[in-house]
Amino acid sequence: MAEIELDGVTKRFSGVTALNRASFTIRDGELFILVGPSGCGKSTLLNMIVGLEDVTEGEIRVDGEVVNDLDPKDRNMAMVFQSYAIYPHMTVRENMAFPLELAKASKAEIDERVSRAAKILELEEVLDRKPRALSGGQRQRVAMGRAIVRKPKVFLLDEPLSNLDAKLRVQMRTEILRLQRRLETTMVYVTHDQTEAMTLGHRIAVLRKGEVLQIGTPRELYECPKNLFVAGFIGSPAMNFLPARWENGRLVLPVGSIALSDEEGRRLGAARGRLIAGFRPEHLQAGGEEQPGLRFEVQAEVVEWLGADVFVYFDVALRGFEEVELPEDLGLQGDNGDHRSLLARVDPSAGLREGDTFELGLDSQYVHVFDAESGENLSTARD
């Protein structure tokens, strides 16, 4: 049980800033996610919390006590590594008993705690096997087991599921979630996978290039991204982006123009420079003439039928608008020539097929407007 406070935590490696002035609090009992593309500093931050990396500047406090100079062994935190880092020369039992033996627990207590952890993680059958005789999922569990036997203050997980296949990953994700709810121990979880972040986290911190961009619940990040990067990073399929202009009190897009609320108008009016409009695929509705907002006609290029949803890919001509420049590390498709490929997530009842021309409606309340230079979200926060 612990609350972790970061206060201006900075890490520099020989002149390169891996993490810049991170300040936030991870609450007691919370499952907190650090998410971002590779090289964003999330693993560095985790290593600093556990004490494997020194803090260049700032303070890390656990329950109010500064732990900057505390040795990892004295922090009573447990970590699950991406490679699991199971000791290959020890059996599963010995692996799980290792932290307890170091803590000089009694033989009876070690046995009791190891068998309890083995029961929770369904490892009873393999307790006397060596790690090389285990499957990937079992190794992952052993790593979890070694973490939970000790009743640590904090669990730290560094991309624990990235070495598992897709099916196992979903299964272990649920297990981790259940485990965390059951133990009610503070857990800090690092991942580059936004789906994992969204499904697991109480709260999420999005990091990029050493900066904490936004911290919030999955819903806050999804509905009110503070900037272009968070908007594009969170959500699958990703948000659609179009270049935009602010003209005569209306937001002009290549597909038409929309009116915005007065307050948004005031903010946009003050902003100089190019704009980018973003809206989620599910906010584009086929048909539904009664809806307010923008309506435009498109031709379906590719239709993906997923049962509950249909993904419709279509191109929008840019018509003289400048191309949208998205952050490269988002890994999203850019413009192809004078077109931009967008995606609508529509109801299967619309019965769309490839090549069909159809009308899409976009409610203006779901449109985010970003400053193309700074990436800042200029629209008002909605809930």
């Binding site: 494997l52 490679s83 880092a85 290959p88 190794r139």
Partner: protein, 279 residues
Amino acid sequence: MSEKREKPIERVLWGAASLLVVTYALIPVAWMVSLSLKRSADLGDDRFLPRVVSFEHYEAVFRDPQFSAALRNSIGIGAISSLAAVLLGMFAAYAIARLDFPGRRLILGAALSIAMFPPVSIIGPLFNMWRTLGLYDTWLGLILPYMTFTLPLAIWTLSAFFREIPWELERAARVDGATPVQAFVHVIAPLAAPGVFTAAILVFIFAWNDFLFAISLTSTNDARTAPAAIAFFTGSSRFEQPTGSIAAASVVVTLPIIVIVLAFQRRIVSGLTAGAVKG
């Protein structure tokens, strides 16, 4: 099709080549064994196999107090040298593999150049120094040069092994509550065991086989090792060559090495780290 036709031919060629190499390597050994088992009278009979198998040379060798003393010296000096070299080498190799300190490459390079230094060039000065220091004809007098010449080998072998061990294991041990020393003792050292064995065996073989230092820096049974002792063998009369005894002693000296290598071959090769990282 062509693959199928080539396969038997390839196998035959490989087999023939292996046979050639093994024969070439083993004929002198077989000859030595054969000589050691011949009766003294048959030594010059120009036959490859002994007419009558006799163990008289072995009996003679072991009756000789000089040889048993030499064997004791060889085992003792070899064991202490390997232990010391491996222990020191382990610390050096660990630092080189794990820590990023200035002059890391320099140390590795310097170690290598020491290994290449011709031992014969230091024998003269060493002889005089050892006499002054009172190390002449002592175990320590041999252990020191053996360690010096085998440490580079130990450092190189061990640092290669340490580099193979995933660093995350050590970090995991630290988070699990181990001090750096505990992490090394409980996690890194056991995983480096094959490397440690390899290094220890190589050092032991070097010390065991050495003739140059042994013959130059010893004078009595106090520290003379087996290879040097063999050189001092005499025949039972001044007209007799000690061929049979030398052959028997050589077989006795060779056997432990063969046993060690065969026994630890598995250990050396076995991939203990399998399963450490994702599989």
